[in-house]
């Protein structure tokens, strides 16, 4: 039996709310799966010898588009399937390697409704490994303003991320 779907509305969230932590033990398979899923064939994401001796890193590491996929998954785990990404920005400060336990955390910075009636949450996100922040991320994600609302139906002038 699957869990019932819950779609979080803007009425349920407030600035300062924290998102539940997502922790994940990264393996070489995690890195390679992510690289292949994003069609990124560059060797630093699957060839340790290249990563160490050419790039000067300690191992292969998660690629940028796969980090985007992790952030999206983290956000929509929280919002439910009506959550629709409008904008995401991330800055990589370091890399995520096999053997790391990565942790995603987030804080709602603002909740707003734009002039088209679309509800938005601005969320500050961090990807950390131990005490080290690996990636900082800010995301703007649309949430329904009521149970009947659905951000995925928005287009044209009604979608202004």
């Amino acid at each position: 039996m699957t869990n019932p779907i819950h779609n979080r509305t803007t009425a349920e969230i407030h600035a300062g709310d924290t998102l539940p932590t997502l922790s994940y033990d990264v393996t070489a398979t995690t890195v390679v799966l992510g690289a292949l899923a994003t069609r990124d064939w560059r060797p630093m994401h699957h060839d340790k010898d290249f990563a160490v001796n050419r790039n000067g890193t300690k191992d292969i590491f998660l690629n940028t588009p796969n980090q985007a996929a992790w952030f999206e998954r983290y956000l929509t785990d929280w919002t439910g399937p009506k959550g629709r990404l409008g904008k995401i920005r991330f800055r990589m400060r370091d890399s995520v390697f096999p053997g790391d336990t990565m942790a995603f955390n987030g804080t709602v910075e603002a909740v707003e409704t734009d002039d088209a009636g679309c509800g938005w949450a601005n969320v500050e996100l961090k990807l950390t490994v131990g005490d080290k922040t690996v990636t900082d991320c800010t995301a703007k994600i649309a949430l329904p303003v009521s149970e009947a609302d659905n951000p995925w139906k928005r287009a044209g002038e009604d979608w202004k991320p």
């Binding site: 994003t38 069609r39 940028t64 992790w70 998954r73 929509t76 399937p81 990404l85 995925w152 979608w159």
Partner: protein, 170 residues
């Protein structure tokens, strides 16, 4: 390294380059592979009924946007390996900076990408920094926009990348 940027490279700033179409129509196989790689159980991507109800049919996760334009690693008749984000590799070559990493990435999302869509893109170099030294080495930062549209001309998204091309320290 010299402070001078070659005139040819300066001329790329603001220019739409490398207009291209996806090598294959959008398909759900890659959507499932992407979701599996990050253990994303969002029913919007796995359950046709939910997809129909919420989005009028199956869609791809917005974060997959750049994946659709990464060329096959090999294709018949291709004599040189095709590179995604070719402007980035052009900069590495012309500025003689053999190594590079991406430091910032901003993506703005438009209409959803659906199976069967064929997308178009172009790359626009926005800026190149003066020489900088980081823990990786000495080189330059650059900003590149990648703009995506679908077969109806609708804006699908824009990615803005900041890259750092460098030579490793001695």
């Amino acid at each position: 390294m010299s402070d001078e940027i070659p005139a040819e490279v300066e001329g790329w700033i603001g220019e739409e380059r490398y207009a291209e179409k996806t090598e294959f129509p959008i398909e759900m196989g890659y959507v499932y592979t992407s979701c599996a790689s990050v253990e994303n159980g969002n029913p919007l991507f796995w359950d046709e009924k939910v997809a129909q109800e919420l989005a009028g049919g199956p869609i791809a996760p917005p974060s997959m946007i750049s994946a659709w334009f990464r060329p096959h690693h090999w294709a018949p008749g291709r004599t040189k390996q095709a590179q995604p984000l070719q402007v980035h590799f052009d900069l590495k070559e012309k500025l003689d900076l053999p190594e590079a990493v991406m430091t910032d990435n901003t993506i703005t999302f438009g209409v959803p990408v659906r199976p069967g869509d064929t997308l178009e893109t172009c790359q626009i170099l926005r800026s190149i920094s003066p020489p900088k030294t980081t823990k990786l080495g000495t080189g330059r930062f650059w900003e590149i926009d990648v703009v995506y549209t679908n077969q109806r001309g609708e804006h699908v998204g824009t990615e803005s990348y900041t890259g750092f091309g460098y030579k490793r320290g001695a």
